[in-house]
């Protein structure tokens, strides 16, 4: 649980973050979106005190984040940034071992953790551990950057545009991997991005920032249906709204009784994917199969059209 209460940050005359209060539930993904200069990165960096707020408090599990020396606080909070920030003179294994080493873990435990994380991020520990960051592809560097942030098993992971430097295909894969890892470690993730698509894909809740203020803090569905301001609406993109709505929910939520012809779609797929398949194949309905492969009903074009409609 992260409680941000009345946080303000001023640099001289300029107010970068103005009186922001947010409560972030544990084991969720919260995405802070906004245009550049909206104060989203500053807000994120105040959580681990890379930036000290002018006023207000931030509590982690009820404890003020100023009750510890800043470096000790940061060792308990994962931190991953755009362009990975790996140390070029240290190997992949040494990079990942940074925080455990700072915390004084014993060698065997560090080695086991490095092996576990590399395996989890689909990097062969024997092949990749001894390599230097420049010998890795962009996607691999990014994975090592996140692995390093998670090495000391932090409850909270802060990410500042972590996928910004990746090409679209690798980015989508990295996002899915992040969600899987978040479930695995039950980490509370706070992620900053300017990419709305990314926000809707990852977030349990989205905080939209504009000129230093949080203008809306809501679940993706709420935000789509009831955007708080014209700015939020423009950020979502009026033309994208129905598709984003369908992209949030899975086919399982839209299953109707009955049967349909042709190739089936998995119930775990998003409704947007179902709509796309319907449009592309020119069918009116798709059969739906559950996780066990059994037929559980159909998803129809009409049903999806109704679900994609906004409030009237």
């Amino acid at each position: 649980m992260i409680e941000i209460e009345g946080i303000t940050k001023r640099y001289g005359e300029t107010t970068v973050v103005r009186d922001v209060s947010l409560t972030i539930a544990p084991r969720t993904v919260t995405v802070i979106v906004g245009t550049s200069g909206s104060g989203k990165t500053t807000l994120l960096r105040m959580i681990n005190r890379l930036v000290e707020p002018t006023s207000g408090t931030i509590k982690l599990d009820g404890e003020d984040n100023r009750s510890l020396p800043d470096y000790e606080l940061r060792r308990r909070i994962g931190y991953a940034i755009q362009g990975h920030g790996l140390f070029p003179h240290r190997t992949v294994a040494q990079n990942i071992a940074t925080v455990p080493t700072l915390l004084g873990w014993d060698g065997a435990r560090i080695e086991a953790k490095v092996t576990e994380l590399l395996t989890l991020f689909q990097l062969d520990p024997v092949a990749f551990g001894p390599r230097y960051p420049h010998e890795l592809s962009g996607g691999q560097q990014q994975r090592v950057g996140v692995a390093r942030a998670l090495a000391a098993e932090p409850k909270v992971l802060l990410m500042d545009e972590p996928f910004g430097a990746l090409d679209p295909i690798i980015r989508a894969k990295a996002q899915d991997d992040l969600l899987a890892i978040q479930k695995h470690f039950e980490t509370t993730i706070v992620l900053v991005t300017h990419d709305m698509e990314e926000a809707f894909h990852l977030a349990d809740r989205i905080a939209v920032m504009d000129k230093g203020e949080v203008v809306q803090y809501a679940t993706p569905a709420e935000m789509l249906v009831k955007p708080a301001t014209a700015f939020v609406e423009s950020l979502i993109g009026a033309g994208e709204r129905p598709f984003r709505l369908l992209a949030i929910e899975t086919v399982a939520d839209a299953v109707e009784p009955g049967a349909a012809e042709g190739e089936a779609i998995a119930s775990a797929a998003t409704q947007r994917e179902a709509l796309s398949t319907l449009l592309w194949t020119g069918r009116k309905a798709l059969p739906v199969i559950g996780p066990d492969g059994a037929l559980i009903g159909k998803v129809s074009l009409d049903g999806l059209v109704q679900r994609a409609a906004g409030p009237t």
């Binding site: 681990n48 890379l50 470096y71 000790e72 606080l73 940061r74 060792r75 308990r76 994962g78 931190y79 940034i81 755009q82 362009g83 990975h84 920030g85 790996l86 140390f87 070029p88 003179h89 940074t98 925080v99 700072l102 230097y132 960051p133 420049h134 010998e135 890795l136 592809s137 962009g138 996607g139 560097q141 990014q142 950057g145 390093r148 942030a149 802060l158 430097a165 990746l166």
Partner: protein, 388 residues
């Protein structure tokens, strides 16, 4: 078969031909002060040596002009240099009349031109071979070993340079010690003071401009002027600070030389530390802070290792600069190889000047090669961060 011509080789060949055939090979003088008489290669060397040297030089010229493998070029160049080095020793014995202790034989322009041309060929071939740092240092050791072997064998004992050395053997090593102590000591002091100053400049932006400005200004003061400026304050310290005179601080002598060299050394060390630290990737620094390194851990673990090659480059500049500058210390009684240079100038004895100059050049050359090798070892390609 078609032969292709190497452009640099043509220049080297022309130089070598001029040096071997037209310029005098050695100079003979009845005593160390009088003007010398030129001797051509044929006159200076016993006939067997003339044949050997000319054959090897001819072979090298042919190898240099044609496009040939670098190893062959290097090999023939070194063989010819060795022949030249041994040959000049033979010339001394050949030209000096028996039982004559006053006559002096020294290498003349032809010898130096040949040495330069062959050295150029060897250096060019060596560069093309791109040897690893270790191999370069081994090469240097081999060359220095060869020089040491020739010196101890007595082959060069008949040369005027060695005769000058023989009459000053004891002071030579004392001055050599002073020279090295001055150059290395002031470097060590500048490193100990300069690196923390550089770190401070990096952290405190306001200090940076001021301090670098002052150091830049010091760098522009001519060395002799700086020695002069230092005489007054150091003299004052010697008189007024108890114990200062006892440890050798005086207005003239080693102390002002040491202080001057130290001041000259500060700028390269401080500036390179600042540049090196500024070159540390911003993301690496941000990540280091963000994952909980203290400022000191970040400095020691991240910033310093990444800046180290640049700092080492500064130290290389200082070392080579100091070895040369330490020569001037002799002017104010600081000792070093400069003693021989200035004595030689005073007596118009060129050989004495060379006794000071040649070791200085060898020392600077050695320092440059060793530190370049160190820098290359410390600068792995991992510092080039691949962008995503």
């Amino acid at each position: 078969m078609q032969f292709r011509v190497d452009k640099l080789g043509v220049i080297i060949a022309a130089l070598a031909a001029y040096g071997a055939l037209l310029a005098p090979f050695a100079t003979f003088r009845a005593n160390r002060i009088v003007a010398g008489e030129a001797r051509s290669i044929g006159e200076a060397l016993p006939s067997a040596w003339t044949v050997v040297v000319l054959l090897l030089v001819t072979a090298t010229v042919v190898v240099a002009v044609l496009k040939t493998p670098s190893r062959l070029r290097l090999g023939t160049a070194f063989a010819a240099i060795a022949a030249l080095a041994l040959g000049i020793g033979a010339a001394a014995g050949h030209l000096t009349p028996p039982e004559n202790a006053y006559a002096r034989v020294s290498p003349a322009s032809g010898f130096w031109i040949l040495l330069f041309a062959l050295g150029l060929l060897a250096a060019d071939a060596l560069t093309r071979l791109r040897p690893s740092p270790l191999v370069r240092v081994l090469f240097l050791s081999a060359v220095l070993g060869f020089i040491a072997a020739v010196l101890t064998s007595g082959t060069w004992d008949g040369l005027s340079l060695l005769k000058e050395y023989a009459s000053r053997a004891d002071t030579f090593w004392a001055e050599a010690g002073k020279h090295v102590t001055l150059a290395l000591g002031s470097l060590a002091a500048a490193t100990i003071v300069g690196i923390p100053l550089g770190i401070l400049c990096h952290r405190v932006a306001r200090l940076r401009d001021g301090l670098l400005g002052v150091l830049n200004a010091i760098q522009t003061i001519p060395s002799i002027a700086l020695f002069g400026i230092l005489i007054a304050p150091l003299g004052w310290i010697a008189v007024h600070v108890p114990g200062a005179a006892a440890i050798g601080i005086r207005g003239i002598g080693t102390a002002p030389a040491f202080v001057a060299l130290f001041l000259y050394s500060l700028l390269p060390v401080v500036a390179n530390t600042v540049v090196g630290l500024a070159g540390v990737p911003r993301e690496a620094n941000d990540a280091a802070r963000g994952i909980g390194m203290t400022d000191f851990q970040r400095l020691v673990g991240i910033e310093f290792p990444l800046a180290f090659p640049v700092i080492l480059t500064g130290i290389r500049i200082v070392l080579v600069q100091n070895i040369g500058l330490a020569t001037i210390a002799a002017l104010i009684g600081g000792g070093g190889f400069g003693v021989f240079v200035f004595q030689g100038v005073g007596q118009t004895a060129m050989d004495l000047v060379l006794l000071g100059a040649v070791p200085t050049v060898l020392l600077a050359f050695t320092a440059a090669i060793v530190l370049d090798a160190l820098i290359e070892t410390a600068t792995p390609n991992r510092n080039r961060v691949q962008s995503a």
